[in-house]
Symmetry: D2
Subunit: 164 residues, 4 copies
């Protein structure tokens, strides 16, 4: 199977993480909890690392997810994830997780994210996020509130990478 | 430090898991997600295994935690845990988690629980549970509803073990 | 963004989980550990559920991942995951996770997997697996051992779904 | 049940986290992955937070757990944990996890640890750690290597708290 077209090739991002390619960077240390019996980081945990970086970025932009949630205004939900695991991370590693907003719509936004150790990219991913608002005793999909969209920057277009 | 007095000695439970010593048993398979780079189960996960067994037991007794929670009636919260990790479990292991209700009060209940692989006890624990009910935008401690207490059996007293 | 082409549409799998569409099914109960503050299952955990189903299937085929690992023969590693989260699961839910082997090569194999609650599909995914073998103090990619490939069944081709 | 004697009372530590009471402090941010459907941090995750703080402290002391592990020298294993969950943490919270070495033996060491949000203590714990070394294809308990013990400071005695 060829790689999904939405994911950049390793070659294409060889120069990352360059400052103008990413909206945000977040450090992640690897602890015992993150590893598995293979001696490496359990692949499922990269979704957590990418989420941590997005959450820190939203906090840095002034957005409190907990306030929105407990006030009953709504919350972001993850709709789709595509990840490629290129090289393993290990106990004690200090990684850098990058965040690039690549699509900004009324109903969903999309991120390109990577996990690096030094100048080596370990994992690449694309994450699509939607919004839900309270409805009866649960939630239903809705439009992302305008005041939240206003906090977000212009997406970084990387056509040569994302649409080869 | 001597072992906490609330925990039975390994010798004292050598004959477990005998049917009349436990209210419930639950099987747990070990997957990659449960292990760490030491090649064994991450110790923090035994709390999850014990919770799974308690939840299955409550379900078997006819109690729906999700119904109570989403209906705003309240929920159990864990107040205290004491665990001893005696021997490691590994990938692919099929374990048995036991549940014994040992204290039944209006404000809290307590469980003695163990994790076994075959006839070998791997982990022993005591877990104290309280109850919280909705209060303003959060929760506050409360008395366990009488209809829930009525579902629970008489605690199994094991004085020779629990109070040496 | 249109859905990744490798993932079947919801309509296309409306009749699943039919027996002849899947190699294996595995039940998963939702516990507190699986949920998040949104009141639903944390999306990252579906990767764990899919892994559990694959591991149980491999065990059922007679393959011990722990034996292979501790004997130093090698292990499967996840190379790529694509998931779509369609509807949420909640505390106490009993889900069915399906496994369909869709590609069987010397270097990688691929699975189509879904998570169902009753007759509702909640999550769809494609997972690509590789093989690594011990090399110096770590591991390197290798060919899947022939005796393992021999245990696996013929992939189920679903061209109308996977290559629209 | 009275609290286990090994755990300090809340009153006794009201002045914490004072610099001379702890060997180390580590910040922990709460993300979605840490919470559960109760809207608060899943209690089992405090063991992870305490482990992160101990690991960061060991790193700061110059000790690489990954080097020890992959070089086949041995590793720390958790033998016993006692935790009390006093107040909940929530999404977006920034917590402080403290580490105090309270016992230093040849076979085991023990830590007193707490989790704070601002000047409020949320969780208190005692964690006992042992050492294992490679033996045949697994590990067996052993003495903590002298060069590791030499890196550790004098335990902080808090008799008025730990033995009331």
């Amino acid at each position: 199977m060829s790689p999904p077209s939405a994911l950049p090739t390793t070659a294409a991002i060889a120069a990352a993480p360059e400052p103008d390619r990413w909206h945000f960077r977040h450090p992640v240390r690897i602890y015992w909890e993150d590893t598995d019996a293979g001696g490496i980081v359990f692949y499922g945990n990269y979704l957590k690392f990418m989420e941590r970086a997005r959450s820190e970025w939203l906090s840095a932009l002034g957005l409190s997810q907990e306030h929105l949630r407990s006030a009953g205004q709504g919350m972001f939900v993850v709709g789709e994830t595509q990840l490629r695991y290129l090289k393993p991370a290990r106990l004690d590693d200090l990684l850098t997780v990058t965040v690039r907003l690549v699509e900004l719509g009324r109903a969903t936004i999309a991120f390109q994210q990577e996990v690096w150790r030094g100048d080596t990219v370990l994992t690449q991913g694309r994450v699509r996020i939607g919004w839900v608002e309270p409805f009866e005793d649960h939630f239903k999909p809705g439009r992302i509130p305008a005041q939240i969209l206003a906090l977000l920057p212009t997406p970084i277009q990387t056509p040569e990478v994302d649409r080869p």
